[in-house]
């Protein structure tokens, strides 16, 4: 009897996950089909770009500066006088461009944007605002989802580029002011091994992470049911799913980019 219950619970869990997977895939397909009509709701896209980009910059800036500072302190500690200080700039820049910049920015933005999208769309769902759009013959996918996808996918690389610069500035500041490394040495290490491919690779990651963030926020928001409690549940799920998928995609992209861009 207990075995049956366990298998029953596992089966229901598997079915629920498959249902989610189906819903997520269908939404991606609907967005792809709605892209040619994106110009019709360009105003919505611009508004979302402002919310995602400008709205996230403060938090991202704070995170980036401290990330760069911590990366510099940690690198110096690991060098332990065995590696010349010149490589401090190299290590900090490479790690920021390839990994820290895109991933940490995406995680910070996911916490803010996925949650906000899920809460907004979820509230619209439970208060029949999305049904109202339907009855006005306005496709909710075109009006609500496509602008959010476009805005997040386009703005995350821009925010990441700013985050990269701020993280390196933070690292440089700590290296010069507290670690006794001269500015010239830090910058020369950074420039000597600088490769544009690292920056592009990071920005490609940011683009994909942007899609993931919007996708999870929109999917869980649109699937909301059950009033205020349902909105809270959707918000939490959106953030958790976005963070997990960012880390998962980060590995997949690292494998792909190491063969294509970083090779």
């Amino acid at each position: 009897m207990i075995v049956l219950r366990i298998f029953g619970a596992l089966g229901r869990l598997a079915l629920r996950q498959l249902e989610h997977l189906g819903g997520v895939s269908i939404m991606l397909l609907q967005v792809a089909r709605g892209l040619p009509r994106a110009g019709r709701y360009a105003g919505e896209t611009v508004q979302q770009m402002h919310r995602v980009g400008v709205g996230s910059m403060g938090l991202v800036a704070l995170t980036s500066v401290f990330t760069g500072a911590v990366a510099t302190v940690q690198a110096r500690y690991q060098f332990s006088n065995l590696v010349p200080d010149m490589f401090l700039g190299t290590v900090v820049a490479k790690s920021v461009f390839i990994e820290l910049g895109p991933v940490l920015t995406a995680l910070v933005v996911a916490g803010r944007v996925s949650a906000s999208m899920a809460a907004e769309l979820g509230t619209m769902r439970v208060t029949e605002q999305i049904d109202a759009l339907e009855t006005l013959a306005i496709p909710p996918t075109d009006y609500l989802i496509v602008p959010r996808f476009l805005a997040t996918a386009l703005m995350l690389p821009a925010v990441t580029a700013c985050a990269d610069l701020l993280a390196i500035a933070g690292g440089w500041f700590v290296a010069v002011t507290t670690l006794g490394v001269s500015s010239q040495i830090f910058v020369s290490g950074l420039r000597t091994f600088f490769e544009m491919g690292d920056v592009f690779g990071g920005l490609i990651k940011a683009f994909v992470f942007g899609i993931v963030i919007a996708h999870m926020g929109c999917f869980f928001g649109m699937a909301t049911s059950g009033g205020a409690e349902g909105v809270g549940r959707a918000t939490t799920r959106a953030v958790v799913a976005a963070c997990v998928l960012i880390l998962l995609n980060d590995y997949v992209l690292a494998e792909i980019l190491s063969r294509v861009v970083f090779a």
Binding site: R40, E120, T123, M124, T127, E128, Q129, D131, A132, L133, E134, T135, L136, A137, I138, P139
Partner: protein
């Protein structure tokens, strides 16, 4: 009392529902609902809370698909209709939702002109004029730039009605239009429902359990009970009905409906 699939009306049938079934899990909400509304009728769908009235209303505008059965608007089958055709049909239908469903992020003006902005080629000044006229019609002049969050319940309902009628639809669906309003504001809404329902070629469908509202606005009454149309007739027939479920519902008598135990 008794099923009456069609009733005499002013014009041709604009809404036809045949053998409609809808289940949610084990719950059989609609069990073969059949009726037809002619142009110009003001139909009131009555029934207990949770009895499937709103579910039926959502089917009429294609927000829900039935498990089986048929729904025709203006002679066009809604079930399985392609999205583009469905949207074209919806331009003829206005819906006032229970909570008005105004988009929170937009002003009242943007809400009222949302449909027109998308589907009609009007300039901004024309849209402004149109919105001002519709808001004046519902008794809310000059609130174009107000956000929905600043409106009272009655004002939200009226702004929602202004949006529903913005494209001059031929069918207007009202989901519990007076729920949550004080008696005076409920009467204001009833008068507006009546006012639009009396326009030529406009058919109204009102879902409610407020009998005062129902008798004021309705010309035809359909009682939904246990997923079926238990009664279909006019006000006099409804008042004279001796079926304990219907009489108990009209009187608001829980004992008659066996709800006391």
């Amino acid at each position: 009392m008794g099923a009456r699939p069609t009733s005499p009306g002013r014009g041709a049938a604009v809404v036809e529902v045949r053998d409609l079934h809808k289940r949610f899990g084990a719950n059989h909400i609609l069990e073969g609902v059949t009726f037809a509304l002619r142009e110009g009728e003001r139909a009131v769908i009555l029934g207990r809370s949770g009895g499937g009235k709103s579910v039926l209303l959502r089917h009429l505008v294609g927000l829900m698909q039935p498990d089986s059965g048929s729904i025709c608007l203006f002679g066009q089958e809604l079930v399985g209709l392609k999205r583009a055709a469905l949207y074209q049909l919806r331009l003829q239908v206005g819906v006032l939702f229970q909570g008005a469903a105004l988009l929170d992020s937009m002003t009242v003006y943007e809400n009222v002109t949302l449909g027109l902005r998308t589907h009609a080629d009007l300039s901004e000044s024309e849209l402004r004029q149109h919105a001002a006229a519709k808001l004046a019609e519902v008794g809310l002049p000059g609130i174009e730039d107000t956000m929905p969050s600043s409106l009272s319940g009655g004002m939200r309902k009226r702004a929602g009605l202004a949006r529903a009628i913005a494209m001059d639809p031929r069918i207007i669906l009202y989901d519990e239009p007076t729920t949550g309003l004080d008696p005076v504001m409920a009467d204001v809404i009833n008068n507006l429902v009546l006012q639009y329902g009396q326009r030529p070629r406009v058919t109204s469908v009102v879902v409610t359990h407020d009998m005062t509202s129902a008798f004021k606005v309705g010309t035809r009454f359909l009682m939904l009970h246990k997923g079926r149309i238990l009664f279909d007739g006019d006000a006099a027939a409804l008042r004279g009905c001796i079926d304990p479920h219907i009489a108990g519902f009209i009187a608001g008598d829980a004992a008659a409906l066996d709800l006391m135990q």
